[in-house]
């Protein structure tokens, strides 16, 4: 009879078999061979994830709907939101690029925030979410495809390119966008999808034991 799989873990990057150890809060376990980070015992990741998800949810709509920049030149004014930049690309004949910007700068970040809210709320309040497994899978898949911070840097570069020929004013949307990027970064460092999977797996096991 083999040792049960639960007493081991493996490195996701180099497949090294490692004995499972209990980590204290704040400790992290790295792969001894390829140095990949395997576990990080964060402090209250679910609770903090929920708080950050709600904050992001509040910031998401103004960041998308309020003007990010407004430009004035010879008395003419033009302001810009993320969605307007998508429409302009579409009108300019680049439907694919418009779709790419829409997906990476609006849909993926928005979906990530909604999924995170759902996941953390279900785990925190012990609600039996019907789509919890699918949400965790989708959240895992979307990792790395949200590109809000790159959009912000892109906006700054556009400002520098235009500042000689026109007057530019930052809009309220820009501040919301910056705050949203801040909460997204915090989420990435405080919330842990692997921990969420563990809690989900344990809950599933205990539910099965009760049946």
């Amino acid at each position: 009879m083999k040792t049960p799989a639960s007493s081991f873990t493996a490195c996701h990057d180099c497949d090294l078999l490692i004995a499972r150890t209990r980590l204290k809060k704040g400790q992290s376990l790295n792969c001894p061979r390829c140095h990949a980070k395997l576990f990080h015992a964060r402090l209250n990741p679910i609770e903090r994830g929920l708080a950050l998800a709600i904050t992001s949810l509040i910031l998401f709509l103004p960041a998308n709907l309020l003007p990010i920049l407004s430009l004035s030149i010879f008395g003419q004014q033009q302001s810009e939101t993320i969605l307007q930049s998508v429409l302009s690309l579409y009108d300019g004949g680049l439907a694919i690029v418009a779709a790419v910007v829409l997906i990476f700068a609006v849909l993926v970040p928005g979906l990530q925030i909604l999924l995170l809210t759902y996941i953390t709320a279900c785990l925190q309040f012990r609600i039996n979410g019907h789509y919890l497994r699918q949400s965790l899978n989708l959240y895992h898949t979307l990792h790395g495809w949200g590109m809000l911070e790159i959009y912000l840097i892109g906006t700054l570069i556009a400002v520098i390119k235009l500042k000689d020929i026109a007057n530019l004013e930052p809009g309220l949307g820009l501040y919301c966008l910056a705050a949203l990027i801040f909460t997204t970064c915090l989420t990435n460092s405080l919330f842990d999808i692997q921990h969420a999977w563990q809690v989900f797996g344990q809950r599933r096991d205990t539910q099965k034991a009760h049946l």
Binding site: K2, A5, S6, F8, T9, A10, C11, H12, C14, D15, L16, L17, R33, C34, H35, A36, I68, L69, L71, F74, Q76, Q78, E80, T81, S85, V86, L87, S88, L89, G92, G93, L94, I96, V97, V100, V101, F104, R133, L136, N137, H140, G144, W145, M147, I150, I153, G154, T155, I157, A158, I160, K161, L162, I165, A166, Q194, W197, F200, G201, R204
Partner: protein, 214 residues
């Protein structure tokens, strides 16, 4: 490098679910993980073919991305289409060295390095180059981390096109080079995503458990 004492999960008859990191036994290959219900594979299926395919596609798109104009700036009816390189040269001659460098790195150097990095990884596996597995893993992590940042130029175009719409006074319209450029970025990201880093380390482990069908 002492890699002899290390045993991979596959050698010991285990298999890691790449989605939820639950460890299973190797005989559960091709079944579904009991936690996340995704299919279990000891190594990602067709990882090298997929990675090569996306990489070659990105190399093909690299040429139109750099040769076709990405946008046209028109002021009072006059103006010429500009390519990625043209825009960078404009920034440099305008005296914006810092920002010119950022765009140069994000739009030209990173895509090139990404393609070369993936090519190095794939060729080294193909021809069994005797190079450090640890260095190759770090190379992969670099490619994976830096990948999304080349999207920068697409977003710059998006902002410029939306802002500068002042009729005959000044207007910026996007060009088809941008489509090709977005394709390069996405295809190289997919190439990296489909590459299974565990293959880099497999040469240190005997492959006798590879056909574990019994």
């Amino acid at each position: 490098m002492n890699t002899g004492s290390y045993k991979s999960a596959r050698q010991e008859g285990y298999l890691l679910c790449r989605h939820c990191h639950t460890l299973h036994t190797l005989d559960q290959q091709d079944q579904h993980c009991h936690v996340c219900e995704t299919p279990l594979h000891s190594r990602m299926e067709h990882t090298l073919q997929r990675s090569w395919a996306f990489l070659l596609a990105s190399v093909i798109c690299f040429f139109p991305a750099n040769l076709l104009p990405i946008m046209t700036f028109k002021s009072f009816g006059s103006g010429a289409p500009s390519t990625i390189m043209g825009g960078i040269i404009e920034l440099f001659t305008g005296g914006f060295w810092g920002i010119g460098l950022v765009v140069l790195i994000a739009s030209i150097i990173i895509p090139c390095l990404k393609i070369l990095g993936m090519l190095t990884l794939l060729l080294s596996l193909k021809f069994h180059w005797r190079t450090s597995a640890r260095q190759k893993t770090w190379l992969y992590r670099g490619v994976e981390w830096v990948g999304r940042w080349s999207m920068l130029d697409i977003f710059v175009i998006a902002v410029l096109v939306a802002l500068v719409q002042l009729g005959s006074l000044a207007s910026i319209s996007p060009g088809h080079g941008a489509t090709a450029f977005a394709a390069v970025v996405i295809l190289t990201m997919l190439s990296a995503l489909n590459f299974d880093t565990r293959l880099i380390w497999d040469k240190y482990a005997p492959t006798d458990t590879q056909h574990h069908d019994t």
